[in-house]
């Protein structure tokens, strides 16, 4: 008797339950992501904004841990249980998914025209013909400085390299502040905040990067060795014991007000705003002489694609078109200062530091990190080697020429540019 009742009850709830879902919305889209940090932003801001405009489509943001994301996503895709929308890592990881047929072709998606070729490059086939993810955000490199320190020492924001080094000398001579907060212990700081930050000005952004991929330029060319030469000159301006200084050490040195300049990625803005007790400003990597074209690393970092096996492809495409729209860009960029929308339409941001960073897009030419596309597919891995060599150059273990030679030799051992 009780058992029958229970069965009936269970049956009833299951029918009612599914009926409830069907009633509330015709389609539910699931988003796979590694950005668990953004859960609140999606739930409270982005999804309500979308659902208000598109009744009938429900969206659920279901992140997994960053370290588990790739493996978990792979398993879910293989089992056919992955969500409709897939957050895309840049370059090879997503390209591999596309090649396996897990990501749908989005080249013709309405809204894709809002993005520049550089923005789309992270989620395209090598020939650039097919795009498979909507670019969501990028991070920009530059230098964040302690405004109070600059004011106190009477330094104006450097535009050229000469001014930059003059400023460093002045800070060093004064002695109150460590001129530059960077360490080489974690290696990637030296490469990402150093080499890839100042490099584009030397190799002329996309021109140099494309030439490197085509094989017209080599890492041993003057334009590619020069950033190493500048890095070697940074050594005397770094803090005591910078060889054992880790990334969090550098962040703390700067936010505690002990260092004047921080070679940065824009993702720091959120953290620095909450931690630093002084006024901050930012400047792009200084150029050779005033008036030169400046180049910035505007590195594509996160995108969103469509699961090729999704049963709700039409609804998902509606959502992706919205992700490609300026509406989304505005909400996203303001919720996460430092992660900049890749949308061509200008986005209004409230955060002054973020505004400063993004304003460089107007006067400088954007490029992405030189090692990320195609060139890091083999062994030895160019990106990882660049970490090691950049740190070596700053530590003085390798000369700039020797470092460049090693990198090029490693690249030559497996990479044959298409002729």
């Amino acid at each position: 008797m009780t058992r029958k009742l229970l069965t009936a009850l269970l049956l009833g709830t299951s029918i009612l339950g599914s009926a409830g879902v069907a009633y509330a919305g015709d389609v539910t889209l699931n988003i796979e992501s590694w950005r668990g940090d953004d859960l609140a932003i999606w739930k409270d801001k982005l999804i309500p904004a979308f659902e208000a405009k598109n009744p009938g489509i429900k969206v659920v943001f279901a992140p997994s841990a960053p370290t588990e994301y790739d493996a978990a996503l792979g398993a879910k895709l293989a089992a056919g249980s992955a969500g409709d929308l897939i957050t895309c890592r840049p370059f090879d990881k997503s390209l591999e998914l596309f090649k396996k047929g897990n990501l749908a072709d989005l080249s013709a998606l309405p809204g894709m025209e809002n993005f520049s070729p550089v923005a789309k490059s992270a989620w395209q086939t090598d020939d650039g013909k097919v795009s498979f993810c909507v670019p969501m955000a990028s991070v920009i490199h530059g230098f964040i400085y302690n405004k109070d320190a600059f004011d106190k020492l009477g330094i104006k924001v450097p535009e050229t390299r000469a001014e930059f080094f003059a400023a460093l000398d002045k800070i060093k001579a004064d002695g109150t502040y460590i001129p530059m907060a960077m360490g080489t212990k974690d290696l990637w700081e030296a490469a990402t905040m150093g080499y890839q930050n100042i490099g584009p000005n030397y190799w002329k952004g996309e021109d140099g990067r494309a030439a490197l991929i085509k094989g017209d330029q080599k890492l041993t060319d003057k334009d590619w060795v020069a950033p190493f030469e500048e890095l070697a000159k940074w050594k005397p301006y770094l803090g005591d014991g910078f060889e054992a200084q880790t990334y969090p050490d550098s962040q703390n040195l700067f936010t505690l007000g002990r260092a004047a300049i921080y070679p940065a990625g824009s993702w720091e803005i959120g953290l620095f705003n909450t931690q630093a007790q002084f006024k901050m400003g930012a400047f792009p990597p200084p150029v050779e002489k005033a008036g030169d074209t400046c180049y910035i690393s505007d590195h594509t970092d996160i995108g969103m694609g469509l699961n090729a096996a999704s049963k709700n492809a039409d609804a998902a495409k509606t959502f992706l078109s919205w992700v490609a729209s300026p509406d989304f860009a505005t909400i996203y960029a303001n919720a996460l200062p430092g992660f900049f929308s890749l949308n061509s339409a200008p986005v209004k941001m409230a955060d002054p530091l973020a505004q400063e960073f993004v304003s460089w897009r107007g006067k400088c030419k954007s490029t992405i990190r030189s090692t990320y596309q195609i060139l890091s597919r083999g062994t030895p891995n160019l990106e990882n080697e660049t970490w090691v060599e950049s740190a070596n150059v700053i530590n003085g273990t390798d000369t700039p020429e020797a470092a460049a030679k090693k990198l090029q030799a490693g690249l030559d051992s497996w990479y044959k540019p298409a002729k």
């Binding site: 212990k185 014991g241 060889e243 054992a244 990106e383 970490w387 497996w414």
Partner: protein
């Protein structure tokens, strides 16, 4: 003849049955994965298919400078790591044990526990704590050295190519010195009173008693500790990974076989993992350890004299 007369014994099933659980569990969690690794190292992923390539992976590991330089560097570093443990950890362990077993020592239990505690700490805590202690920015090491006027001797050890590996070896020694100490301590306690008393009657006391009586008696334990250290060191990974990261900087100076294997097998950052090359490295590690253990078993252990009481 006699065998024929003896009644045929029934097959002793119970032996098999009693052995079965251990054999099954051991096979499932040790032998099969090991065989799987060996098998994986003979294949290569070509166009999404595993293709049998014989010893090609090993040829690449030793012949291709992209791999061999890293491998020999890791092996060299690993050997240095081991040497430091043998020269520092084990003598200190023996010394501590000898001091602890001295009947005149007060608070022996306290010292014993205090020295053993780091061994049970997680390597994550150890790596992180030492990174902070040695930090040139906020570490206690520079301040302490300053108190004694030795500030000039301080360098950022973990960031310098020439010191990093030695510094990490010593951190590992600090963590694990409790193990040889405990084993030797147990061995020292098991030496019968009569032997010691006889030695004392013969006028052998103090240090010479340790060298002439106790040390020969604990040599087998020291042998066991050496082999445990060897296996532990050549399988080491965690401390380097937590303190220096997977790239084992600066300039691969702290790269040991474990971290080298990790990068090859799982990949790192933009480097995609290559399970086949990883398995080849794992196989080499297995062979190195197997070789070392064999050398010990056949050349050293058979020559150690044992004393029965």
């Amino acid at each position: 003849m006699a065998a024929d007369i003896r009644p045929k014994r029934p097959f002793r099933w119970h032996i098999g049955i009693f052995l079965a659980p251990a054999v099954l569990v051991y096979t499932a969690i040790m032998i099969l994965p090991l065989a799987g690794t060996l098998q994986l190292s003979l294949f290569r992923n070509i166009e999404q298919h595993q293709v049998f390539v014989g010893l090609q992976n090993f040829r690449a590991l030793f012949g291709d400078p992209n791999w061999s330089v890293g491998f020999w560097n890791a092996l060299r570093n690993n050997t240095w790591f081991f040497i430091i443990h043998m020269l520092v950890q084990n003598p200190i362990g023996v010394m501590l044990a000898a001091m602890l077993s001295s009947p005149r020592l007060r608070f022996a239990a306290f010292y014993r526990t205090a020295i053993f505690v780091p061994t049970i700490l997680s390597f994550v805590i150890v790596g992180f704590a030492w990174k902070l202690i040695l930090s040139p920015l906020w570490g206690v090491a520079p301040h302490l050295m300053d108190l004694f006027g030795l500030k000039s001797l301080f360098t950022p050890w973990l960031g310098k190519e020439q010191y990093a590996l030695t510094a990490l070896s010593l951190i590992s020694v600090w963590q694990f010195v409790g193990i040889p100490m405990m084993l030797i301590y147990a061995a020292l306690l098991s030496i019968p009173e009569e032997v010691i008393e006889a030695a004392e009657c013969d006028g052998i006391t103090g240090l010479s008693q340790f060298w002439k009586i106790k040390l020969p008696l604990i040599l087998p334990s020291i042998g066991i500790i050496s082999i445990l250290t060897f296996v532990g060191n050549f399988n080491a990974f965690d401390l380097i990974y937590t303190a220096q990261g997977a790239l084992a900087g600066p300039n691969y100076s702290t790269d040991i076989l474990g971290t080298f294997l990790y990068r090859a097998f799982f990949g790192f950052q933009l480097q995609v993992g290559d399970p086949n090359m990883g398995a080849a490295i794992a196989t080499m590690m297995f062979l190195i350890i197997l070789g070392g253990v064999c050398v010990y078993l056949f050349l050293v252990q058979t020559r150690l004299r044992r004393y029965q009481f």
